[in-house]
């Protein structure tokens, strides 16, 4: 078996990131979109930690903490908005929210 190198981690991070992107672009349910955003953030976390390990510096892990905190705050607000949207529009389908259309 080949040893696990940094590249494997980074590849995993990239894949996770693009799965997240895919989710944001192509899923209609707002909750799923929020989850995909979380996925993208976590993918980035993984990438930071990998670099921390393999470069030897601890800065990567510090950055990770920032990102986790940020993700939490953002998830809170995002879900709050989603709840408000649901209360007003009775839907969580992204395609139904077109008031800002031309």
């Amino acid at each position: 078996m080949t040893p696990v190198t940094m590249n494997h981690y980074l590849a995993l991070s990239a894949i996770l990131f693009f799965i997240g992107v895919f989710g944001v672009l192509f899923r209609r349910n707002l909750i799923v979109i929020l989850m995909s955003i979380e996925l993208m953030l976590n993918a980035v976390n993984l990438s930071f930690v990998t670099f921390a390990r393999y470069v030897g510096s601890i800065d990567g892990q510090v950055a990770t903490f920032f990102v986790i905190a940020l993700a939490a705050a953002e998830a809170g607000i995002g879900l709050a908005i989603l709840v408000m949207v649901f209360r007003n529009r009775s839907t969580v389908q992204a395609d139904d929210l077109t008031l800002l259309r031309y």
Partner: protein
């Protein structure tokens, strides 16, 4: 005297401004300003000019003939690099003659207008316009360079328009004013082109100028340089003159111009403005001498116009129209003269014509006034007893125009005829033909004017009841100018008594310095020398002394005879056998109708020029270009903006997925750029 030259044109300008301001101040009120004030200002101004002109004249007489030039430069009008055009006045022997006529006869007509225009609501406006005209005309004759002359040229055209359409509430008068101005402008276009040619030609010699004395020197020093453009420039300037002086083909505005008040017709369309064309050619005589072809054309057009207009005048019923066509005809004589190189003779006729034509017009105004506006000679008659002064002055002026000696018209017209027949020109037969035309026209002149005399003042009383109410002689302010002008028509001729009759032709000698030095180009080709200069004329007289003297007397006698024949024919047709004219017109039928309707030239112009012009301006310029293309472009810009907008807004879908998509695209692009 030189520092005061500016007063001559500017006194009337100030008068015009004063009366103009008065007219404007009273514009909304029921009545205009006090007629007394207006007339004092309005008549005072040209009289001031006249006094100054007289003073200049006297000073000129006291100066030696070679130094009779006074100049005054007021300011630099146009300074564009090497080109300096100054507002400068220039008075030489020719200018002073013109200035005397303009201010002298002008003042008389202003005085006449006091009586004629009394009670008119536009009294102040009238005098303002008339004074403005004086300013323009004086600027024209006194201008030192062609652009300044042109300022005056345009100014008189403007005043003509304003005064013809003076009673603008009648749309026919406004239309007549428009016609005059537009036809004039066509000529002016050609005049401008001629001016530009001269500018370019002088520029080739290193000193581009339009200053007349300078051009004269340059042409004298380098005739070859100008020879190429001379014919073209002279013809173009002449087209301008046909517009201003109502010659074929641009004569059509003058008869319509009779819609204006009669003093206007007398001043502008008889004595002064229409003579501007003749003056201009005389002024540019040094250039015309280089272009014999142009001179031949000028003479030809003049002679043709003379007989053409005389024929139409003969058939008209409106007294002013007869006089209008008479003016066109007499102007033809003047152009014939200058075309033959006899510049002094042309100006001499200009002067005598100013006297008797103004007198005729003012006399007709007197009659019209007395008859409450009647202008048809077939509704007049037997007025001699009732309007003695008008009758006598009109008769005297008619005898003058018919060329009966010793009145003025005889001397000037005869000189023109003699200069024509004895003139040298290529082709050889041309002067003879022109003389023939002018000779017949002279007979017709006597005929048509005495037709008017007999029908108006003699014969049976055909005046309608409505016209009888105020049938009396006109007031002193109107009769005084008539008498003065008639006196002028009698004595003015004695200024130009030819040598053949023992006189010394003072007028000729006075103008000699202006036309001397270059002689007349015609003289070079002449078999017998004809020229406005005393020298060549004397040579001619000497050369033909043997039988020449007799020939001159013969032609003189012929001129007198044809004049008397015309008068006799008129007497026969309108006093003796008044039924004949009706019979003749019926016999001639179609031909008579042709002449009566002015040879349908107006209709021809209407069809060939006016209607296509109107169609061009309406269908093409307006519909196609203005509304179609230009509006299209302007609207198009708006439509384009909308289109772009409506396309661009499709990006505002409101779908967050679309926005997220574009964000990803952008992000990928940045990453791409960073990796590169």
């Amino acid at each position: 005297m030189e520092p005061y030259l500016w007063l001559i044109p500017f006194a009337p300008l100030i008068g015009a401004l004063a009366n103009g301001v008065l007219a404007l101040l009273y514009a909304r009120r029921e009545n205009g300003p006090s007629e007394k004030t207006v007339s004092i200002v309005g008549c005072g101004a040209p009289i001031v000019s006249f006094v100054v002109v007289l003073a200049v004249f006297l000073q000129m007489r006291a100066t030696h003939a070679d130094h009779r030039i006074f100049e005054q430069t007021l300011f630099t009008w146009i300074a564009a690099g090497p080109v300096q055009i100054e507002w400068a006045y220039y008075m030489d022997a020719l200018t002073i003659v013109m200035a005397l006529i303009v201010t002298g006869i002008g003042s008389l007509i202003h005085i006449y207008s006091v009586g004629y225009m009394r009670g008119d609501r536009g009294y102040a406006r009238y005098f303002a316009y008339l004074n403005l005209f004086m300013f323009s005309m004086l600027t024209l004759v006194m201008g030192k360079n062609l652009p300044l002359l042109f300022v005056g040229w345009e100014g008189v055209g403007l005043c003509s328009y304003l005064l013809i359409g003076f009673w603008y509430t009648d749309i026919a008068n406004a239309a007549a004013g428009k016609k005059a101005f537009i036809v004039n402008r066509i000529g002016d276009f050609a005049f401008l082109l001629g001016m530009f040619l001269l500018f370019v030609a002088s520029g080739k010699l290193g000193h581009a100028t339009l200053d007349v004395p300078e051009l004269r020197e340059m042409v004298g020093a380098h005739p070859e340089a100008f020879a190429a453009v001379a014919t073209a420039a002279c013809l173009l300037l002449f087209v301008g003159a046909t517009g201003k002086s109502a010659q074929i083909p641009l004569h059509v505005w003058l008869p319509d111009a009779m819609a204006g008040p009669t003093p206007v017709s007398a001043l502008i369309h008889a004595a002064t403005m229409v003579t501007a064309g003749v003056y201009m050619i005389a002024r540019m005589s040094f250039l015309y001498d280089l272009a014999p072809t142009a001179m031949a054309i000028v003479a030809g057009v003049g002679a043709l116009t003379a007989i053409f207009a005389a024929s139409i005048g003969f058939a008209q019923r409106d007294i002013k129209k007869v006089l209008a066509y008479s003016t066109v005809s007499q102007l033809g004589y003047m152009f014939l003269a200058v075309g033959m190189g006899a510049y002094a003779a042309g100006i001499f006729h200009l002067m005598t014509h100013a006297f008797f034509k103004a007198c005729l017009f003012l006399g007709s105004g007197s009659v019209i006034h007395a008859l409450n506006g009647e202008q048809d000679i077939f509704r007049m008659g037997a007025l001699a007893k009732k309007m003695k002064i008008t009758w006598i002055t009109f008769l005297v002026a008619s005898l003058a125009i018919a060329g009966v000696p010793p009145l003025a018209g005889f001397f000037s017209k005869d000189e023109i005829l003699w200069m024509t027949i004895s003139g040298g020109m290529e082709p050889i037969w041309l002067p003879k033909v022109l003389w023939g035309l002018a000779f017949v026209a002279a007979g017709m002149t006597a005929l048509y004017i005495f037709r008017v005399v007999f029908l108006t003042f003699y014969g049976e009383d055909r005046v309608r009841k409505e016209a009888r109410a105020h049938l009396h002689e006109s007031p002193f302010s109107m009769t005084m100018p008539l008498v003065v002008l008639a006196a002028g028509a009698v004595v003015a001729g004695f200024l130009g008594v030819p040598q053949a009759l023992g006189g010394s032709n003072l007028f000729h000698h006075w103008l000699e310095p202006v036309f001397a030095g270059h002689g007349s180009g015609v003289a070079e080709h002449a078999l017998v020398g004809v020229s406005a200069t005393g020298g060549a004329g004397e040579a001619f007289a000497a050369a033909t002394a043997g039988h020449g003297g007799a020939i001159e007397y013969l032609f003189m006698a012929l001129s007198v005879l044809i004049g008397i024949a015309g008068i006799a024919a008129a007497y026969f047709l309108y006093i003796r056998r008044p039924d004949y004219p009706r019979a003749i017109t019926t016999r001639l039928g179609g031909f008579y109708r042709l002449v009566f309707n002015k040879y349908y030239i107006d209709e021809l112009y209407e069809r060939t020029i006016v209607r296509p012009g109107y169609a061009l301006s309406d269908k093409i310029m307006f519909r196609l270009i203005d509304m179609g293309i230009i509006e299209g472009i302007v609207n198009g810009v708006g439509i384009m903006a909308r289109l772009i907008g409506s396309t661009a807004r499709l990006a505002q879908s409101g779908l967050i997925r679309t926005y997220a998509f574009f964000m990803v695209i952008g992000f990928l692009y940045i990453v791409w750029k960073l990796i590169r």
